[in-house]
């Protein structure tokens, strides 16, 4: 599949075939996740209704980190295997990752105010998440600033690969430092520390967000492939005029 999609024409055909199914599946899973999260899940015995913020905040935070890892892996494959779509996939994933990071930061602040009594503290988890947002912005800026696409891909790849060091810092920040943010309650060695009445809606929402990312990524990648074709046509046209 990986090699099969190395050909942009095959990718375009593949994206066209799977798009309606992906959109339908995303709407169904995300819709069901929202129903479970807003209607079925009970209020928490300590946090009350504010626990429902978890169903937006946690999936967005997981994806914010996951998308950055995806970008770093894509660039590594671009460097090593010269996969034609790897750099393009990383490029179009960045704005999606930036939006999920912004959702994570803003919903975290909206959760923090009633629970901690403050919108923001410069603790290790919140700060490292903010650094991730800045890394996304920097990565996007590289693609905008460097005109020559090969060079832009190389510089952006370095930003992605160096910046990925921030991901374990985000993940383990709550264990390495004394933070206001709670420790991990989902990905733990001894299993999730969340009751199934809250865990089930959370997992559905995480699946829905992940599907939304894949759907948007493939559609944005289609636009990127077509944009590069248009650029080549413009270059060929300009060459013909010379």
């Amino acid at each position: 599949m990986f090699n099969y999609l190395a050909n942009p024409n095959r990718f375009l055909r593949f994206q066209q075939r799977v798009q309606p199914w992906l959109v339908a599946l995303t709407v169904l899973v995300l819709g069901y996740g929202l129903y479970l999260g807003l209607v079925v899940a009970p209020p928490d015995y300590q946090q009350g209704e504010t626990v429902r913020i978890m169903f937006v905040h946690v999936p967005a935070s997981s994806l914010a980190m996951g998308i950055y890892i995806f970008m770093a892996v894509a660039h590594a494959l671009g460097f090593v295997l010269r996969h034609p779509l790897a750099d393009a996939a990383a490029k179009v994933a960045a704005p999606i990752g930036a939006v999920f990071t912004l959702i994570s930061l803003s919903t975290g602040a909206l959760w923090g105010k009633p629970m901690w009594g403050t919108w923001w503290v410069w603790d290790a988890r919140l700060t490292s998440m903010f650094v991730l947002f800045l890394l996304y912005l920097g990565y996007i800026a590289v693609w905008q600033a460097v005109e020559e696409p090969h060079r832009a891909a190389r510089v952006a790849g370095i930003v992605a690969l160096v910046g990925v060091i921030n991901i374990p810092i985000i993940k383990f920040s709550v264990e390495w430092w004394n933070t206001l943010h709670q420790p991990a309650s989902l990905l733990r060695a001894d299993g999730p520390a969340i009751d199934s009445s809250i865990l089930t809606p959370l997992l559905w929402n995480m699946a829905g967000y992940a599907l939304l990312f894949v759907t948007l990524l493939l559609y944005a990648l289609r636009a990127e492939v077509l944009a590069r074709r248009a650029r080549q046509m413009e270059l060929a046209q300009a060459g013909a005029r010379l």
Binding site: P43, V56, S106, L110, P149
Partner: protein, 75 residues
């Protein structure tokens, strides 16, 4: 969900912020696709091709191949 519960405004604001940001993201992606398709249609109407024109017309030399995606030639 109890709409009269304490702090319910923070819950609604969280979902609202997520909805607005995701709607903006989807909108930007859709607008970009529309612009790209429009540009491609304009170029095709002008007879533009992805192949560079042959510099030595009439010599039997093949025109240079233009990359399908930059850095990678079409198979």
């Amino acid at each position: 969900m109890d709409f009269a519960a304490k702090h319910i405004g923070y819950v609604l604001a969280s979902y609202g912020v997520a909805f607005v940001l995701l709607a903006m993201l989807i909108g930007i992606i859709l607008v970009r696709m529309r612009m790209v398709k429009k540009r491609l249609a304009e170029l095709e109407a002008q007879g533009a091709s992805r192949r560079a024109p042959a510099r030595t017309a009439g010599t039997g030399q093949k025109p240079a191949r233009v990359e399908l995606v930059e850095g990678h030639e079409a198979p």
